[in-house]
Assembly symmetry: C2
Homo-oligomer: 182 residues x 2
């Protein structure tokens, strides 16, 4: 019987992506309201996974995305959701107007925990830069993130093309490797 894992998400697309990558595992989702924590991205994913495992008493994984500006020493980082909500895409571009360095990286942390055990964090990172809005997207900051080596922002890529190179894909692939080594 394949190992059962619960992905803590209410997002059907994220569940679909995780299922496609974690072949050989019985992945299901649960929507739990976990507190949004402050701190380093690794810490946040680790704590959320621990909390969810305690609540569900099942092996669980969570994912948490940060968008880090090098000029701001990694900020907004895990606070990107709040920054996007308060400043908008244009405001995020403007935030870097006083800085030469427009480089940034997107990080996805997958936190995995089995009840009563320590949590493990797997990291996927995509380097790129912050650019004026190009393309349309339902995903928050995709139109202002231009990944290195490409001429299209995440928003200008097809969903398939983006998912192929994304920080989330990289983190999920590392998670799969980790599970296979267990």
């Amino acid at each position: 019987m394949s190992k059962r894992l619960f992905f803590i998400t209410g997002n059907a697309n994220k569940l679909k992506e995780a299922k496609e990558i974690l072949v050989g595992y019985d992945v299901d989702s649960k929507k739990i309201d976990l507190p949004e924590l402050q701190g380093e991205p690794e810490y946040i994913a680790s704590e959320k996974a621990k909390l969810a495992a305690e609540m569900l008493k099942e092996p669980v994984f969570v994912e948490d995305v940060s968008l880090c500006f090098n000029a701001l020493n990694g900020l907004p980082g895990p606070y990107i959701k709040d920054f996007l909500a308060k400043l908008g895409r244009e405001g995020l571009v403007k935030l870097l107007s006083g800085y030469e360095d427009k480089s940034a990286y997107a990080v996805c942390m997958v936190g995995y925990c089995e009840p009563g055990k320590d949590s493990v964090v797997l990291k996927g990172r995509v380097d790129g830069k912050i650019v004026p809005i190009k393309g349309e997207s339902d995903f928050g900051w995709d139109p202002i993130f231009l990944p290195d080596g490409f001429e299209k922002t995440f928003a200008e890529m097809s969903a398939e093309q983006k998912n192929e190179i994304s920080h989330r894909k990289k983190a999920l692939l590392k998670f799969k490797e980790f599970l296979e080594g267990c």
Copy 2:
């Protein structure tokens, strides 16, 4: 017998200040590690007070300070500690270099909770602006905050003068009024 209240802090100066303001109450401190939460300042103070009251089974209060830049729609706000740690004082000033509007406000939220009851949040606010470093201080952003109506930054004031007009003082005075109305 006077009502007993626990202030969740490890800071002896903050306890002293609270005791001086909350005359007629038996104020003591407890150091508990509460999670640093993301969200609106009111929400954070409210949740922390609730958590602490559940843990201690006693009436408790917490305080949480935000530094809000109007040009950034209230950010860094509750993330100011992390921003100060990562960018420093000069970095915080630079963060506003692309904006005309240097106005800002300091907010102290006092969250109060009795076990099994809803928490209450009392707010103290000081308006001012962000200026290049003036004065020396052990307190993080005091040298870059110039309160409206004064020609000295918080760092250039004596401790007594600052405490007289501070966001924390205002919030504690409102808290005292609230307690007296209970």
